[in-house]
Amino acid sequence: MIDRPVSSSISIGGVLLRSPLIIASGTWPHEPEYWKGPICSFVGAACTKALTLRPREGNPGIRLWETPCGLLNSIGLQNPGVDSFLRDDLPKISSGDVGIVVNVAMESEEETAEVLARLSVFEDRFLSMELNISCPNVDAGGMAWGSDPVLAARAVDLARQCWRGPLWAKLPPQCGNIAEVARAVEEAGADALVVANTWLGMAMDPVSEKPVFSRNVAGLSGPAIFPLALRLVWEVSSSVHIPVIGCGGISKTEDVISMMLAGASAVAIGTFHFSDLGCFRNIGRGLLEHLAAKGYSSPMDLIGKGKK
């Protein structure tokens, strides 16, 4: 075993990231101090909160509910709309040193086309565009787009026509057959898949005897779902040729290694940094140590190795 310098950088369908750790959409402040400096030193890219054409207030009532090792959320795509994002937020987050993945919530085809047209003007500011066809917290669109191979392909096809940069599609964990959806989306021209979003869950309030959330259901994230997300990554990455980004409950170095062994090219981390801001650094350092101990020169050496 020769001692080679270990690099943490990876490439996802041509997009180069300095680390395979991505900050998951909807979890990171759009404030400049969080897009640079030591807090981001092991972060390969960060996703924005989902954008829609018009500003959205999101869901009323309780939005967060802690569960064992997990978090239910019903934020519901609150965002200032694409124009306000481009005007107010983009300059702030572009001033940092973290690559930006812009997350776009699939709405109607017309609305989504319009959002992508406006984002395209700033295409060079984004590492990639993540098409969110998996939000469980809205009535129209959202998850419905990603739950069916035909609809999912249609969404990605449309996006492909309106967006020339790298295009990632973020799939919902609950669909009849995720491998089929994944293949349909690949064929429609996605450059990578994010597997997956939050899982449909629910909470009841024993005191009021009513569902906690205004929409009854909500999305479950956090360490609780890791074993479930890992299984999806294993399954999807065996069904497509484009890179897969693992997402769901990652909290430690072993989780990242596991995701990559199962076929992921990178991972996105959301909920866990709510409790531990040091997680990117701890995971990143742990990953480098693991690679060195195993004699690998890059995290890419891990991708899919667990299938052999």
Partner: protein, 258 residues
Amino acid sequence: MCGNGPWDSLLEREVTLTKKKELTKNLFVLSFESQDPFPGIQPGQFVMLRTSLGMDPLLGRPFAVCGTGESRLELLVAVAGRGTRILCSLPERERLVLRGPLGNGFPPQPGKRVYCLAGTTGIAPFLLARQQTPKIHVHLGIPGRGWGGLATWAAERIPGLCVYSEDSSVGIGGTPLACIDQLEPLNDVVWACGPTGMLKAVQTACERRKIPCWISLETRMACGIGGCHGCVVRTVAGLRKTCTDGPVFDSREVLWND
């Protein structure tokens, strides 16, 4: 923001529980010691506290800072549910993780008389305020004798503390709201912290008497830094985040969530 703790950014750090004092059943003063000094903390600012053991409970819990010194920090914690029960059951010397200080405190009021109205643990920010500006007036409301330990302890730290109890068993009968009637719109301001019901009542009373009033809100939080959109509150300026736009708001702006 750079240090040599376990994380370069001192936004989050490990602390040691150095002292745990039970004021009354299910109410504790927890004192923590950090390796690195804390920055200046404004009354009303808060921290998120979690154990460093397992990942359940997953999220930190928000608490207003009630005392600081150099690398020392004090919280007043009531057992409200599972998370606080666990935090209050830890023995001294346990190591925990603390994120903060977070949010914006009560805005300084040069030239005004400040009346601080607290509901039970809502006294926390005013203990810190008093440490910094001794001439504030603090009024504490408690339900009754069960909370007497809090009143006694707070009175030691805030000479002149006015205590009210709903069942008249301790101090003055009634609630701290009583004092609003005596305030002068041009010279006095109210700072309030406590349960939502009390804050709404304070808001209404101050509105009526045209007394400037700031209230510190409590909402569920996941991140405390503006990332999750979980802590929003409806205001005249639209949805605002309690963690970064608050937790202290001008009471005239707050429209609540229901």
